[in-house]
Amino acid sequence: MNTTVIDAHNISKVYNPKTIPVHAVNEVHLHINKGEFTALVGPSGSGKTTLLNLIGGLDRPDKGNIFINGTDITKLTAGELISFRLHNIGFVFQSFNLIPVLTAKENAEFIMLLQGVKRKERERRMMQLFKDIGLEDKMDVRPEKLSGGQQQRVAIARALASKPQFILADEPTANLDSASASNLLDNMAKLNKEENMTFIFSTHDQRVIERARRVITLVDGKISSDTAVVPTTEIQTGQVTS
């Protein structure tokens, strides 16, 4: 049985409403189930990042409601929203956004400290996460000493560390070379498959789109198509079962 993680009803976001209104997101309905691997695609300015920010509780819609696991996040106060994000949503940003004064491990551990996770549990999860992303030997290295791909993998470990309901990734491969992007996507696909982790990407990157199981296309703030697809990689490796 599919469990609904995100349920957005008729959400709209207008920038500059009093001067030159820009309908970044326009009456969008979106329903995402647990374990989906979804790509939000569309041209620049189509509203991908705005939609991601609304779903992630980083921004508030001007209209509509967003339910995350049954909680209407549009009704939460600023403080409640911060706490909600901490316990439910993982973020991966385009420019990695690791804290430069913390090591890779400390960056990932930071979220768990905010959550009040005990030291022993933190250590155990850190070991597992860094093993999963293949950076066990880089745990004590600061971000400046890591490549872009490695930094983005640490960002994924950070997003996963909080055991979120889903992970929002805004153009996660935009600043990566092909090999790093491929490696990163492998990691994400593995986590999606093995841990049933829900991923939602905003992307232009064809490599990401090819891995997605669902592709939602946005044009001028509206969903123009919403398609379930079989990832190209699975066709190539003969993993298609249906």
Binding site: L58, S83, E106, I111
Partner: protein, 404 residues
Amino acid sequence: MIFIMAWRNIWRNKVRSIVIMLSVAIGLFAGIGMLALYKGMLRSRVRTVIDAETGHIQIHNPEFKKDFHPAYVLPNSNELLKSIRSFSGVKLAAPRSIVQGMLVTTTGSSGVTINGVVPELEYKLSKLKEKLIEGEGFHTDKKNEVIIGKKLADKMKLHLNSKLVLTFTDTADNIVSGAFRVSSIYQSNNAPLDEVNVYVPLETLNELLLTGNSFHEVAILLNNDDDLQMVQNQLKTKYSFLLIETWKDISPETELMVKTIDDYSYIILIIILFALAFGIINTMLMSVLERTKEIGMMEALGTSRKRIFLLILLETIFLTVAGTPLGLLVAYFLINYYQTAGIDLSGMGKEMMASFGYSTTIYPSFPSEKLGGVLLLIVSTAIVSCILPAMKALRLQPVEALRR
């Protein structure tokens, strides 16, 4: 981890942080140095009052202080003196006969306070001999000798061996005069007192006053400054009919100065720290503005505003407090050096310093008792300085901050 982040964050721009830390160190050094200087000056002034002017305690006939009439001697003066010397904590008790009179020379006259003293005791009690700049003090074989202050000598154009006449009223209200010869000239740290106080042998003055063996004042030096209140209370209990005053009662302006200078020095320290606060605020504001995206990201990930405020607060405290040990150490070593060597302020004008009752050589003293207050002020400065940068950080909306 917020502590670790705060500490590491202040080293992200080393030069900027070191400049602020050095500013705090220099400001603190200046503040502590000033407190030490004040403490040294006050200590010196209090010592001068006790050791060279009033002694720790003075005892008088209560009527004497009303109009200084010479008839009001201490009853049973000699028995009283003996008894006082037997009190525990009393180092020295010296008798004085005191009368207001006129000093007359061929060129003019001047109002003076004539102090009849026992030379050997007075030399120890008010360090009169140490203050002599001309002459050897009283000669045992000469009765009519007078020691006058330099300021009075200059004013009346008197020199060693100059003749002068002291005129005053005796106990029977008769005007009496005595001819004296200047045996010595003294100079203390208190020019106004030098101008009015003259010293003659007790016996000579008593003969003229017709007070016999009695006297008007017993000045007491104690072994320990801290025994002041205890000895005063004991004396008051035993001699309730006498006026028993400590140096604080006799020289209230000195006591007031001790109290007010403490407040002034804190005010000056606050002004120094206030000026420093602007530098700290500027540094922290720059630091926050440079990290807009990072702070927005932290909030996006779920860092509460309380924690972000704590981060900025800790960074400001670390930045401010990091310079403190350096400032304290430099102040400590320099003050300790000058506590022994002294700082010669004669360049500021010996006359001016003396007119306020201060020595020209100041021995600063490290104000260890004020360190708690100083550190509290520094931490308060940090807290106040962090408010504006923290507000700036807290106003950031994660979605806008991440867009930058």
